[in-house]
Amino acid sequence: MNNGNAGKKRGPASSGSEPTTKHQAMIEEEEMDEDVFFDETLLQEEEEALRNAEEREALASHLSKWKRPLLSAAYLSQSQSIIFQQLEIDYVIGDSHKVLMPNSSGPAAILRMFGVTREGHSVCCLVHGFEPYFYISCPPGMGPDDISRFHQILESRMKEANRNSKVPKCVLRIEMVQKRSIMYYQQQKSQPFLKIVVALPTMVTSCRGILDRGIQIDGLGLKSFMTYESNVLFALRFMIDCNIVGGNWIEVPAGKYMNATRQLSYCQLEFDCLYSDIISHAPEGEFSKMAPFRILSFDIECAGRKGHFPEPSHDPVIQVANLVTLQGENQPFVRNVMTLKSCAPIVGVDVMPFDTEREVLLAWRDFIREVDPDIIIGYNICKFDLPYLIERAEALKIAEFPILGRIRNGRVRVKETTFSSRQYGTRESKEVTIEGRVQFDLLQVMQRDYKLSSYSLNSVSSHFLQEQKEDVHHSIISDLQNGNSETRRRLAVYCLKDAYLPQRLLDKLMFIYNYVEMARVTGVPISFLLSRGQSIKVLSQLLRKAKQKSLVIPNVKRQGSDQGTYEGATVLEAKAGFYEKPIATLDFASLYPSIMMAYNLCYCTLVMPEDARKLNLPPECVTKTPSGEIFVKSNLQKGILPEILEELLAARKRAKADLKEAKDPFEKAVLDGRQLALKVSANSVYGFTGATVGQLPCLEISSSVTSYGRQMIEHTKKLVEEKFTTLGGYKHNAEVIYGDTDSVMVQFGVPTVEEAMQLGREAADYISGTFIKPIKLEFEKVYYPYLLISKKRYAGLFWTNPDKFDKMDTKGIETVRRDNCLLVKNLVNECLHKILIDRDIPGAVQYVKNTISDLLMNRMDLSLLVITKGLTKTGDDYAVKAAHVELAERMRKRDAATAPDVGDRVPYVIIKAAKGAKAYERSEDPIYVLENNIPIDPQYYLENQISKPLLRIFDPILKNASKELFHGNHTRSVYISTPSNSGIMKFAKKQLSCLGCKALISNEDQTLCSHCKGREAELYCKTVANVRELEILFGSLWTQCQECQGSLHQDVLCTSRDCPIFYRRKKAQKDMAEAKLQLDRWKF
């Protein structure tokens, strides 16, 4: 699994290509609490009466068979402890509970935990009594009287700021506590802090604002305060204080909870309890399992108008397909599709046809309510399906539709958000909040975790499931809808498939296990993992650890992004070349985490420069890092970050050991997900310290880490080249040919993989001995042969045992870039295969030459030449003319219905055009090219597409690579087809020519001119051979499409341009017809 996160990426350092990367800011949205007030007026369900009572009953009984299992008597009598796995935690503002909280009144924050019990019951646990708070440092000399005065002043200021609030008291309490700031090494163990407890979570922010700006205190004057832990989201604060981690099991003992008097949610078990009565179970043993939660995968189809992408204000929702699966089962237990107008039955699927769109939408809402899914998945549901449904309901004025959450009167909220993060880039999205249900959009996950050339459902499923998906163009969807019940059935089958694929991806890639484990390891709710960046995960761990140590974390004001850059990772100069001797690779295992542990780098061990002299620390107790910072050693103060890292790595070791022992496949999945999550978390700690606009940046730490990293790479290089020499008794002199962030490539000069492994191990052990623990150099693999192109670009065969190589490993060589055509990828792969595996350089050269010749002779499969780019805006919005935008405009003029719209990907090829035409004018629709015989421009492909990547590979191998590959005999014959639609062709007269020599023949009955008559047999063989090949191709392509479509008796409709055989299929059809015509000229 090539997981982007799981790879050897270390926060910011990985993205730079320069040896000394100037780090830019990492921008992450500020986390803010947003109070949601509980709406007491339950929505009247009178509109429901409008619908035919009978029909409603029928629908209700239809839906009721998918209800959750009934509650047992023990649950009903409240005599049983409730143990459930929580999936989502949020809070609302409501009146404080009169029984549980007899001493308070007025609005209070009530936390809600949604989850599932082992039996599959849905749970809504309302937690009372937990209050929002933060800290400030106590000004020296403040006594209890001063505090109460301070309390009054603050209260009055808060009242002003929160005039609209009905809260009787804003600042509930101010307590003096003994804490210490996490920042900088301090000799005294603790100092007084004030813990300010406020009434509502949002008041933390307003109170912080008041304290930041300064407050007038008698005797002290205007004083502003630094706040601590005032930026912690309320739900997270609760989880930290109650030791709850994302997705763990919660127990509320019998007698400690009370069932709600009036159910506010649709959950089977809804109860109130005090936060102090909650028992949080660590995810171990029995509690590491997953509850049988319900996962709904759905997809909608809309009938767009010709030439427009569907818009909720105009275009109806015509079908909704749903699949519900219980976690841990491999088959969905509900399969249904709701259709507008009749639809023929589908085997194994509940088809639910309705006459109006309103009924479809409401049926879906009822379905959600009845099935009560815990997790909602789909492909692009967050940006398309869910907002579309909601906006459509709005357009149809169905007010009662958007109650999809678990709270009885809670409408879903749609919010436009932009999410930006250094690691994931900026994404615009709509955020639809469905209370109590986790949304898990597979598209977002894919974009987050995998680097792919295309994220269409088709290409993602062909990548991971090795299946092509049928793609029905949205202009056809309306036609199918307007047909009969059979055509609508066709559409329904397609819709179901789109709903099924996300579920299959989820299962195949074990997302549930991996994400739940990540939530458990980092301690954040599952929903945070998708909607927020990396830093919240580290912050959560930091806060937990700090709490144990009585440390508090300051809320540092945001700093501008311009300041604070530091030197990044080092890359040793690459000695480019083709190495035909084994190259051993020495890797630092988890380099950055180990450095932080080895040198005790942390916020709380950093010595401020002015303190360095003042504190008069003995030199043996401090470390001065290569970047000049001073940190104390662990005997004076153990760092928190090293401790977190140690725990993460130890836990990973444990998980890996357990994984070996584990038998049960589900347990295995959990453990594997966990070790992966632990690894990713350990690696993200460094990035957290370097995020200049993050929660708690500390460039002293991150620059020290990278400086140590650089030093170690240099050190390793020096040691290897000193020790492994002929003088030292070795057969050859070792040479370091390349070094990356955390690895060094060594050529020991020995001819066999086995010897190289031997020496690699020896070197790793020897050098590891010179480092402080736990920094460790490991020998992992040998590359043989190894093609080193430049830094961060190489390819080689990867050996971990001396008998057989594991795979071909490439880095930085164009194989995934999406603005390249497929030809480049194929060519590069094939060449590397020939060079590295077959060890056949002349063969590789010949292959390139043949390909170039094919290209020039117009024998290339067009699909290999298609370049695809996403159309993100319309033509006018682009400042620079781009090929795909121009083409989209031109296509719109030809036929608005099939032209690509904003959001579509535009495939194009570059065609031959008048001299001097700009590249963007030469783009053309591949289908149009096929239909009209338009010649492509081989020169463009040679120069702009294949030449650079090829030269990169061949330069280290061949002298004069460019001359050898791109000039010579194979480039001399060129074939250009005559376009059938160009202006001049309208005046041309078509004449038959001899099939042998192209001489014109006057008599229509003849095939050959008199000169070629003698070669009749040979020429016939040639024609018929051409037909043969096309027939083979035609057969295999069109039967494949039938296969994907899953039907033999219906015509193939698919127009998926992502499919690699789409153009070939089209071309085969056209070529076949032509070849057949030519064959028919040979009259029998």
């Binding site: 023929a344 039955p345 589908i346 085997v347 194994g348 699927v349 990548h463 090795q466 092509q468 059979e486 059935r489 190589f805 795979k807 071909m808 792969n829 295969h833 595996i837 002779m857 014959s973 070669r1015 009749e1016 047999a1017 040979e1018 016939y1020 063989c1021 040639k1022 018929v1024 051979a1025 051409n1026 037909v1027 043969r1028 090949e1029 027939e1031 083979i1032 035609f1034 057969g1035 295999s1036 392509l1037 069109w1038 039967t1039 494949q1040 039938q1042 296969e1043 899953g1046 039907s1047 033999l1048 008796h1049 219906q1050 015509d1051 193939v1052 690699p1060 055989i1061 059809q1069 076949m1072 017809a1073 057949k1076 015509l1077 064959l1079 040979w1082 029998f1084």
Partner: protein, 440 residues
């Protein structure tokens, strides 16, 4: 006819020949963008009306319904096209698969896998077939059958019984005059192959034309009324035709085997009626039905009116004995996607299925017909032959309604030196073996 002047003159026997190839001819058919769905549709349509009439006799009490009409737990009969989902089936998409595997793909002769799954499809939909009654290894995609069973709660169709169309009705075998008349079948001459043995082939021709042996043998030779060459007559070095312009030396390499074949065929055609069918390695089109080899390839032989270039599959009547045969592709393809004891079993199945090539177009190349399925067997032949098999095999098949069919697997002549002789009088078969090895 000039034979040995000293010996007795034998008159070659005559027989009445009627070609039934018309339905295999593509003639004016064009590729107009039609797809393969039509041929499946026609096949299902024709076979279904046939099966419906049989079902009345088979299980008159069980209701018949469509895939869509299935109801859980209700026993019924459904008729549809089988589709076999095969894990190992090669796909054109494999070329595009992401990770090029390091080990070269193992090319297997057979693509079956224990996980193969049968599905039944009609115009309305598909249903998975469950239960152990049907062994997927016996069946192939494209076959139309009637199934008795019921839908399970999982949405599968639990099969309890199957009805295949069975042998088609047969014309009465003519009583004939009681005299022996022989038809010789030969296939896989592979002229131009590296291992080709011209002497062996010449022996065969000399034998048929009566230039070999004593009077007894010549008298038997004179009773040969027809020779059928069932495909793969030449072998053209592959790859020669891929390039664009051919060098003159390649031109001769290309046409040499064809010229040689023409010489051989001319000798035969001068003496006996001759049918030549195209096969997979011949210079003809690839898809079934393969169209006749062009006359221009055989300037010599085509001058005789005894020379008939015909389609593959090939069907004809000789003295009212009906022949049907192919050059082997249909049976070879069944061998790749299903399992049987030997090729004869496959042949028997195709007759019982009343379909010459059910795997076309799915895995066997085929022209996308729109209005007919030429491979349906409407009338049972008396002789059913298949060329280019590994071994000579024959069997007399008796149908439930008294049909009698001679099944013949014609071996590759190049490899075995064996031609097959059929006596039309009693449908008995024997072989002619030619060897040029001197050792016993």
């Amino acid at each position: 006819m000039e034979i040995d002047a000293v010996a007795k003159n034998f008159q070659r026997k005559l027989s009445v020949y009627q070609s039934l190839d018309e339905r295999f001819e593509i003639q004016k058919e064009m590729y107009r963008g039609q797809q393969y769905s039509q041929i499946y549709f026609i096949r299902l349509h024709k076979m279904r009306s046939l099966l419906y009439s049989l079902v009345e006799k088979w299980k008159p009490d069980v209701p018949v319904c469509t895939v869509l009409g299935l109801e859980e737990g209700k026993e019924c009969i459904i008729v549809g096209t089988l589709y076999k989902h095969m894990k190992l089936k090669p796909s054109v998409l494999d070329e595009y698969s992401k990770e090029r595997s390091v080990a070269p793909l193992v090319k297997s002769h057979n693509f079956m896998h224990p996980d193969d799954q049968l599905v039944l499809e009609d115009e309305s939909g598909r249903v998975k077939l469950g239960g152990t009654f049907l062994a997927p290894s016996m069946f192939v995609t494209g076959l139309v059958v009637a199934l008795h069973g019921k839908e399970t709660s999982a949405g599968d169709f639990l099969v309890q019984d199957i009805l295949e169309p069975g042998l088609p009705p047969q014309m009465q075998l003519p009583c004939g005059s009681g005299e022996d008349k022989y038809v010789v079948f030969v296939s896989g001459l592979s002229v131009g192959s590296n291992t080709s043995n011209p002497l062996q082939l010449q022996l065969l021709i000399d034998h048929i034309t009566g230039h070999l042996g004593d009077e007894k043998e010549q008298s038997i030779a004179s009773q040969i009324v027809r020779v059928v060459v069932a495909g793969n007559s030449v072998e053209i070095t592959l790859g020669l035709l891929n390039g664009q312009a051919l060098a003159s030396k390649d031109q001769s390499r290309l046409s040499e085997p064809i010229k040689e074949l023409d010489i051989l065929l001319t000798q035969l055609a001068a003496a006996v009626s001759l049918d030549i069918m195209p096969g997979p390695s011949d210079p003809a089109n690839f898809s079934l039905p393969q169209q006749p080899l062009h006359r221009c390839l055989f300037p010599g032989a085509s001058a005789y009116n005894t020379f008939v270039s015909c389609t593959n599959p090939h069907s004809f009547e000789l003295d009212n004995v009906r022949f049907l045969g192919t050059s082997g592709q249909n049976i070879d393809d069944l061998g790749k996607y299903s399992d049987a004891e030997d090729s004869l079993d496959f042949m028997e199945r195709t007759l019982r299925w009343r379909h010459l090539a059910p795997t076309a177009p799915n895995t066997l190349g085929c022209y996308p017909f729109t209005d007919k399925d030429p491979f349906l067997i409407e009338s049972c032949p008396h002789v059913y032959f298949v060329g280019n098999q590994n071994k000579y095999k024959t069997r007399l098949l008796r149908g439930s309604e008294g049909q009698l069919v001679r099944l013949i697997c014609i071996p590759k002549f190049l490899e075995t030196g064996v031609a097959v002789v059929l006596n039309m009088r009693n449908l008995e078969c024997h072989t002619l073996s030619f060897s040029t090895h001197l050792d016993p």
